[in-house]
């Protein structure tokens, strides 16, 4: 097995607001190995962005704070790393791109200025040389007329082009890990596919690990090796993309898969899981998914299910997996006495 680049253990990131403490990330563990693309999926509000920002140590403080847990990156714990050291890692060893390509670039500086800045923060390089490198990076991510674009402002580019610029910026120092938080959510379908292709290509060519965050299982299916499903601040299921898509265990994952648009059955009404993600609270009783779960039974409302290990790198947070069963009870056998 190849080396682990990122290993998050029992991460707790909480927000301390006027309305009380919000455990937005509540004991999350996940890992990414060299050259691997790992997807984190879950509806909006499940704590995916907070997890990824925790890795970068970019949680706005106040109100947010990493309360406990460790984030091992290439053998060091980022939670314990000083800001000074962290600055050397950000953009250099771990790069990040965000959901909104429209607002993620500073509107008042040229593409070139922002790219050159990214290059020169971590490399001793003259302006001219950095500019040459910037043009090369733009060409590398498939931007036509890179020589002109370098002097243009973000508002002169389309969303897809801006996201390519963001990727070029992220690639500027050849990071070991790229964290992409909903990189294609704001883009239309064709552009989305192009951006995913580009990311896969960079992953292969540079053997760069990617942590891809999305609320869209379709995106996961497209390029991820493994999947971590999150719900209300916790990991609820983990496995290879194949396992998750073909043989989901946890009812929430099943719901996500059911709500995928089916290419074969056209005009069918799209399924969506009823209800919404609850805001995580400190003293939640029972399974967090219980109010929306069609399999829920008495115990689900009284106890919180732990994360059951049901195979190699395969977990599920559901009482139905307690006996490590491969097959979940079929629909009419739902009520199983604990």
């Amino acid at each position: 097995m190849s080396k682990r680049v990122l290993d998050i253990n029992e991460l707790h990131t909480h927000f301390f607001t006027d309305k009380g403490e919000i455990p937005a990330v509540d004991g999350v563990s996940l890992n990414v190995s060299e050259g691997e693309i790992v997807g984190v999926v879950g509806e909006s509000g499940s704590g995916k962005s907070v997890t990824s920002l925790s890795v970068m140590q970019l949680i706005p403080n106040p109100p947010g704070k990493i309360v406990s847990g460790e984030i091992m990156f290439k053998g060091r714990d980022l939670v314990q790393t000083s800001l000074k050291q962290m600055k050397k890692i950000r953009g250099n060893e771990i790069a990040m791109i965000f959901q909104e390509p429209m607002t993620s670039l500073n509107p008042l500086f040229t593409i070139g200025n922002q790219l050159i800045e990214a290059i020169r923060i971590h490399n001793k390089m003259g302006k001219g040389e950095a500019r040459q490198k910037a043009v090369e990076l733009l060409e590398q991510v498939g931007i036509p007329r890179a020589n002109d674009i370098v002097d243009e402002y973000p508002h002169q580019l389309s969303g897809g082009m801006r996201q390519r610029v963001m990727i070029a910026m992220a690639m500027s120092c050849r990071p070991d890990l790229l964290i992409a938080d909903e990189p294609t959510t704001a883009l239309d379908v064709t552009i989305q596919a192009q951006i995913l292709d580009l990311m896969r290509q960079l992953n292969r060519d540079l053997n760069m690990a990617i942590l891809l965050i999305t609320h869209d299982l379709g995106v996961i299916a497209e390029i991820c090796d493994r999947v971590v499903v999150m719900y209300a601040g916790q990991v609820v299921e983990e496995g290879t993309t194949r396992e998750i898509l073909k043989d989901p265990q946890q009812p929430y994952t099943k719901g996500l898969i059911r709500s995928l648009p089916d290419m074969k059955a056209k005009n069918q009404k799209l399924y969506s899981i009823p209800g919404t993600v609850p805001k995580p609270k400190v003293d939640m009783v029972g399974c967090r998914f219980a109010p929306r779960c069609e399999y829920a039974f008495d115990r689900c409302f009284a106890e919180s299910p732990p994360l059951y290990h049901i195979g190699d790198n395969r977990t599920s947070r559901c009482f139905l997996n307690e006996r490590d069963q491969r097959e979940v009870a079929s629909h009419d056998e739902t009520v199983i006495k604990g």
Partner: protein, 323 residues
């Protein structure tokens, strides 16, 4: 933009004379004037012609740089007004330098170190500053720094026993042009107290505006992007955040400059500053209408110029804005 606004201003200044109830000539000359004197004045000023003809003449004169004749001093206003304008512009300039420099920096650091002791103290000062009566501040300054400590002169633009040779009537500039550094310093010393008195309110407004604008900008996605690149706080705050945050502050700076230009009478009076405010104020008590008209028009003119400069700065800072 520039032309219609100035045109509108001439309408207003023109109307001033004609909005006064009663016969303008009568008002100008006072109750005891004889009918003959009134007729003469009407003849001289063209007051017996129809309004639109009078206005036409007024505009024609203005276009030729003719602001009319002062009733009091009987001299050409265009000739005697410049030293007053220069005095006001110079004072406004230094007051705004003080206001912008202190205000923006206080705002930036307050936002950067939000909820720190600096933030609390700076914002308390800003709060007091906005509500500070200028005359009180001015008098306190004079009492402390002039009377008690004797560090700075309390009134005037220069040492009147050792006057400067005026060229542009911007005294600092004039002294520097003549390479007369000791006089330049004297003039600067005279500028300090009135500049602070005049600049305090805009300084406080700019500080608060900068702070809130910075806090807003610091939350934006592109700041997070810069942080994710591994940039240091200085680049984040002074390059990326400041340039964005300064855009709304610029509007305030422009407006406040205009306010100072027009509203400096109090400061000019306290500090014996021979500026346009004093010039117009004195004219009022002599019913010197041509001077009042011209003074207002000149202030309006510079107000428009400042707005023009602000607009140009916008396009310079923000590539998305095009005219």
């Amino acid at each position: 933009m520039l032309i219609p606004v100035l045109f509108g201003m001439t309408l207003i200044t023109f109307s001033i004379v004609h909005l006064i109830p009663g016969n303008p000539a009568q008002v100008i000359l006072g109750e005891t004037a004889t009918q003959e004197a009134i007729n003469n004045l009407e003849e001289n000023m063209g007051l017996n012609k129809p309004y639109f003809v009078q206005y036409g003449i007024y505009i024609q004169d203005l276009l030729q740089g003719d602001l009319g004749t002062s009733l009091r001093s009987k001299t050409d206003i265009a000739q005697e007004i410049w030293p007053y304008i220069a005095a006001t512009l110079e004072l406004t300039f230094f007051a705004m330098i003080f206001a912008v420099f202190v205000g923006t920096n206080a705002g930036i650091i307050s936002a950067w170190k939000q909820n720190s002791l600096f933030d609390y103290v700076a914002m308390l000062i800003a709060l007091v500053g906005v509500s500070m009566p200028i005359f009180w501040l001015g008098l306190m300054e004079q009492w402390v720094f002039s009377q008690e400590l004797g560090w700075l002169p309390a009134t005037g633009r220069e040492n009147s026993r050792d006057p400067i040779e005026p060229i542009t009537y911007f005294y600092v500039l004039d002294a520097l042009l003549q390479l007369d550094f000791s006089r330049a310093i004297t003039v600067l010393k005279h500028l300090i107290l009135p500049s602070i008195a005049l600049g305090t309110i805009p300084m406080a407004i700019i500080a608060r505006m900068t702070r809130s604008s910075m806090l807003e900008v610091m939350k934006s996605d592109y700041i997070r992007t810069v942080e994710a690149k591994g940039a240091g706080q200085f680049i984040i705050v002074y390059k990326h955040a400041l340039k964005n945050a300064v855009i709304p502050v610029l509007t305030v700076i422009g407006l406040q400059t205009g306010v100072l230009l027009g509203g400096a009478i109090l400061t000019e009076t306290i500090f014996g500053w021979p500026g346009i405010g004093r010039y117009v104020f004195d004219a009022i008590s002599f019913r010197d209408y041509p001077v009042i008209q011209s003074g207002i028009l000149v202030v309006a003119f510079f107000f428009v110029i400042i707005n023009l400069i602000v607009d140009l700065l916008y396009t310079y800072i923000d590539p998305r804005i095009k005219y």
